[in-house]
Symmetry: C2
Amino acid sequence: MTTTAGALSGLRVIDLTRVLAGPFCTMMLADLGADVIKVEEPGKGDDSRHYVPFVNGESAYYMNLNRNKRGVTLNLKGKGRDILLDMVKHADVIVENYRPGTMEKLGLGWETLKQINPRLVYGAVSGFGHSGPYRLRAGYDIIGQAMGGLMSTTGWPGGEPTRTGTAIGDVLAGLSVTIGILAALRHRDQTGEGQKVDIALVDSVVASMEIITQIYLATGKVAERIGNRYEACYPYDSFQAKDGRVVIGAANNKLWALVCGVIGHEELIHDERFDTNPKRVQRHAEVKPLVEAWTREHTVDDIVERMLTAGVPAAPINTIDRIVKDPHIAEAREMFVETRHPKGGPLKLTGSHLKMTATPPSIRTPSPLLGEHNEEVYGELLGLDAEAIARLHREGVV
Amino acid sequence: MTTTAGALSGLRVIDLTRVLAGPFCTMMLADLGADVIKVEEPGKGDDSRHYVPFVNGESAYYMNLNRNKRGVTLNLKGKGRDILLDMVKHADVIVENYRPGTMEKLGLGWETLKQINPRLVYGAVSGFGHSGPYRLRAGYDIIGQAMGGLMSTTGWPGGEPTRTGTAIGDVLAGLSVTIGILAALRHRDQTGEGQKVDIALVDSVVASMEIITQIYLATGKVAERIGNRYEACYPYDSFQAKDGRVVIGAANNKLWALVCGVIGHEELIHDERFDTNPKRVQRHAEVKPLVEAWTREHTVDDIVERMLTAGVPAAPINTIDRIVKDPHIAEAREMFVETRHPKGGPLKLTGSHLKMTATPPSIRTPSPLLGEHNEEVYGELLGLDAEAIARLHREGVV
């Protein structure tokens, strides 16, 4: 854990988010140096504190997404609401991922908060956004993936629509609200005007569909599921190796010739059945076994090395155990960082993927214990002393 | 097309990017109001100008990703290099997605550019990043998805690792470099110090794996492919309907009871085989046909309506043709915007998913014709007149 001041140092963020999409955003803000104050329900905390896997009783799920944050407890109803409004006066940003309408019911909606602090940037993440007929529907990751079109295009011919193996709807929304917040801060710094950023999981997935949507809008063609190959070139696909699967990406005739050389079938280069990309795409079911006859006899690492040496793009289809010990990903790019939590003990977390020369993001502090920074934060922001905080605790406010 | 000044108005971006990950970033910056000057190779332009589908001879792929940008042509070798260095003096941001080392070979690497303009923010997107042993490998989307672990966790038990149906590696990297650039701009505005942001497709995919990686790091368990269900609860999965597939998300006993009510099998609520989440997960292969016996008799829309009415999260697995006419996504959230291109004519593009109250992103201008803004941009930034530009054109510089 290092102590570099980050690009966002000096920025104060009040974080009402829970579980994944929201905390993923505030994790990036915290990694970038912002002072993120995570506000949790007294006695209970973020649901993800109770998610497996646990390390010495602490959730690794929570520890990863909430490193670098300070933690306070606050019941947002009653007296707690007034405390939050006081904190908002001292904040640059607030982020929440409640169902739309919840903040208004708590008396903490954007219309109220901007009266308290017109310079505030308010980031909201929800399943369907804060407008429109579906806004009150529950918006889990799988629902974002399903409604945004991603599942319909992922999978195999004749097979089922397939969800992406990670919570990509939450991740896309978390990245997107971070962009909206940072852009809004730039406008705020130049004009003094805060605003609300309203990001939906479904919109974020729709935005990720990009050319697939554009093909439909331009031609009326609905994308089909075609497994790992692409419509434009072949062999650009996954192949069975002796010990796993491998990706080979031969996008043109030159690369096809190189592939033929590596697999020892140079006679295929000028074979009239396969000598253009359109022919290879059309006959992909014939090309695949020709390549696979060779790949099945070799290991993934051997195939990747031979293809790369010949100048053909290739990659292992990594499982997690390979990634965490990969010399490039784990070591050179430092994508996994050894940390120590006061209760959980030593644990590797996923490092920041935002590599910056002057202000590199860093993991400086472990995730907070529930209410760990109550005295520090409420003292610093609101001038409350230990006795006042103890009283609020007895009253169930913090 | 509206003319709202965006959150990033006043920001000038020099855009050397091609095809997808880089242009997706500069598209967001342009949608947010930045002045993005896209620099393309004279006579040829961005490869994606030649990608299907075409509308009246113009690529819809290009038109979508390059709306709101101004376009100039420039040969980055020889005299063109000096012109780019002059432009860099007048820019806040430069973005490129060449293979690492290419900018240095052109004499345009970060170490050179920061001498010219120490306030510059330099955003780079590549397959593997600008450091580490794999940095010179070709980094296509499928390679990011394969090496970052996403393919290994997407798909079905006994089936193959599966790529996500959109170029999610490119999209994740495009979103991530946008975050890095905006954070670096904040640091620049406060300190005067520019920097380089170095984003890898592979790192971005690794970051998206999040809890899947954390489970391995905490327990040593490597994630398996389990289709559309989740390990924590059931029935939380996709189901066959009469006319397609639908997602139902019953995450707890209360929701399970509601599902049993909707499918007309209330006797299942207290059936000892299924009365806890762990039991339902263990017996998911028995639960699925019980639910599917009912879903097969109903349409997707009917199932979604009945489940939502009962309080159970549910969603259609939308294909693109459904999304573009969905009253929430297309209409209320305005995710598709009617535009007009001077050559391509009328075309719907994907709107911005970044919804902001004070400075809403907008599509103001169509994608540029090749070199369309040469006179305007070179005049404005460098004071070149039409004759000087014509001479540069004859010399093959622009």
